[in-house]
Symmetry: C2
Subunit: 123 residues, 2 copies
Amino acid sequence: MYERKTMPNLQCGLDLMGEVLYGKWKMRLLWFIHQGFQRPSELQRKIPDASRRVLNVQLKELESHELVAKVIYPVLPPKVEYYLTDFGQSLIPVIGAIGQWADQHEERLRMLIVKNLEFSPQS
Amino acid sequence: MYERKTMPNLQCGLDLMGEVLYGKWKMRLLWFIHQGFQRPSELQRKIPDASRRVLNVQLKELESHELVAKVIYPVLPPKVEYYLTDFGQSLIPVIGAIGQWADQHEERLRMLIVKNLEFSPQS
DNA sequence: TGCAATAGGGCTAAATTGGTCCCTATGTGA
DNA sequence: TCACATAGGGACCAATTTAGCCCTATTGCA
């Protein structure tokens, strides 16, 4: 487990938000769970660019922040289902708004990002 | 300038959003500029926990993504004012929604974050 | 003269995040 | 028997982000 060396800022709302939503895949995880993809393996298939490892880590963080919870079925092979807590559910409209804005401006965003991309593919 | 080694994902809206809004202070910068704190030194005073250096870098990125623009007054000592572009302005309601959710749940968020904090202050 | 304010870039190091590889365990189908 | 699916954790390394320090230049104030 990584141990922080600096205290995070927790003053304004945006600081707090950062603590729970920073993480490359967290918003997507919440969104997909909301859409009904609840098993870890489903989520991994929905987000193939993320490594299995990191998805697990981020799911655990979402869980520790009480945005999601999981049910572990005592069967073999193992079966687990994540679901949004009420708290997590209350965040869905916000993520929806973010996604909607981004979708509306998709073309432009992609253009801007690519234009500013400093990218040197390696051998 | 840092040169990326991996291509970012640009498929869904949330990927794109990540590219423009990831950055510890970006949302706050946009918000404060929106509130009328437009000069770099004002922004630095509003966000004292950020290093001067990083604020400059993130402002430049916001600029390259056309969310903000600046006017450079040819005077001494130098004077610069940032303002939101229409594009940046369109993002304000979204940031507002994020901030509002976080403010509504401030207590709980702070509690959850602190509870899960693995923090070891150094000598 | 010496110091603060103003804006911002270069360089390097520290902190944090993400990814790879490997290991546990068990049931099912080829 | 071997491969695959299922869920997840440890060790370790790579990529990325943030911070710290120093330098430019000019005006005004003590």
